[in-house]
Symmetry: C2
Subunit: 185 residues, 2 copies
DNA sequence: TATTTATGGTTAGCCGCCTAACTATAAATT
DNA sequence: AATTTATAGTTAGGCGGCTAACCATAAATA
């Protein structure tokens, strides 16, 4: 009898057994689902652990990358608003306040009042923040590449296609849940 | 110029562009990686949102399922220790204390002192907890199946195989990070 | 037997996520 | 111009995750 959504993945035979008792359980769907979540989790951890060595969480990384990207676009807006950051990183404005708090505390970002709209703050990357990213990113990308190195180009393409089918389905199931994809960046 | 690990996935062309500046960035690996995390996230949300309607979080669900599974094994141990639950669900003992606190508060589990080892508590599923699971699980499995319905059996098998390659790689990268897999359940 | 080590559960503090509510400001409407 | 609606950022409270430390108990060692 399988444990579903637990740390250790159940064997397929266990899923077959469970399907006898839970008619709504589709063994192969369940297996694919659990493997997907499990692999995603492992990949997340592999990359996150390296960030954590620099005291950077996933959420903080997203903020820093958003700001770095904004600088690189050279569109004259070297800073972003908390709401803009929240939108880009997929968290609420309330959460973004806390993230900016700790990033500011650590000297990685600056926060100032917008001169044109008094409701707004503007957040910018400090030199220290930029330097930290330049320190982190090479290894970050290396780990990403290493995780995928056992897949050749065709397999990667296959994987992406299969994953796209799933996200399309997810979007169809709950439109309010789905994110825009792919997005113009 | 892509935003990496942000809410919206970058287009492949953006990854190619970024690779010019970050030599360690492998575009196809990055694309596969980001799609994997993104799809996992969407799937997680699709299922989690249904659980949340019953005021059950992912963590609480794992506890309840572990207890349900333990009952079903009929091995005479209808209850588990907090440490056992923590091990099964992949969280720390400290976290488990909090999870059990709220589950007990909501009348879904019982908590008592172990009679054989005075260090230990035993946690068991209440009738109410069992009933809630029986209410939740049909729809839970349906959503899981629906997420994967656009993949046929061969595609599901392919996906699992590709995912297994990745988790093997993740395990090779950081043995301390990898979970045992597949586990005997 | 006494001491040391290991194990279990909890607490405190931190972080990051959420929702709802709030205040301040800007924009839209009357 | 006055009022209403919308937007931005923050706060409060809750939840769930972590680490380290703690106390109680059990097991291992001297």
């Amino acid at each position: 009898m399988p444990l579903l959504m637990l740390k250790n993945l159940p064997r397929y035979e266990c899923l077959l057994e469970a399907a006898k008792e839970f008619p709504d359980l589709d063994p192969s769907a369940c297996e694919a689902f659990l493997h997907l979540l499990h692999t995603g989790d492992e990949c997340f951890r592999a990359v996150e652990s390296q960030l954590a060595r620099h005291n950077i969480s996933q959420g903080r990384f997203g903020v820093l990358m958003s700001l770095l990207n904004n600088c690189r676009n050279d569109d004259g807006q070297a800073a972003l608003s908390p709401a803009g950051l929240a939108d880009r990183t997929g968290v609420t404005r309330a959460t973004m306040t806390g993230l900016i708090d700790t990033l500011e505390r650590d000297g990685l970002v600056t926060r100032a009042h917008d001169t044109e709209d008094r409701r707004m703050m503007v957040v910018g990357l400090t030199l220290r923040g930029r330097e930290l990213l330049h320190e982190i990113l090479p290894d970050h990308f290396k780990r990403m590449a290493m995780l995928m190195q056992s897949l050749d180009e065709a397999e990667r393409k296959t994987l992406v296609q299969l994953l796209n089918k799933i996200t399309t389905q997810a979007a169809a199931m709950a439109p309010a849940v789905a994110s825009s994809f792919p997005a113009a960046v």
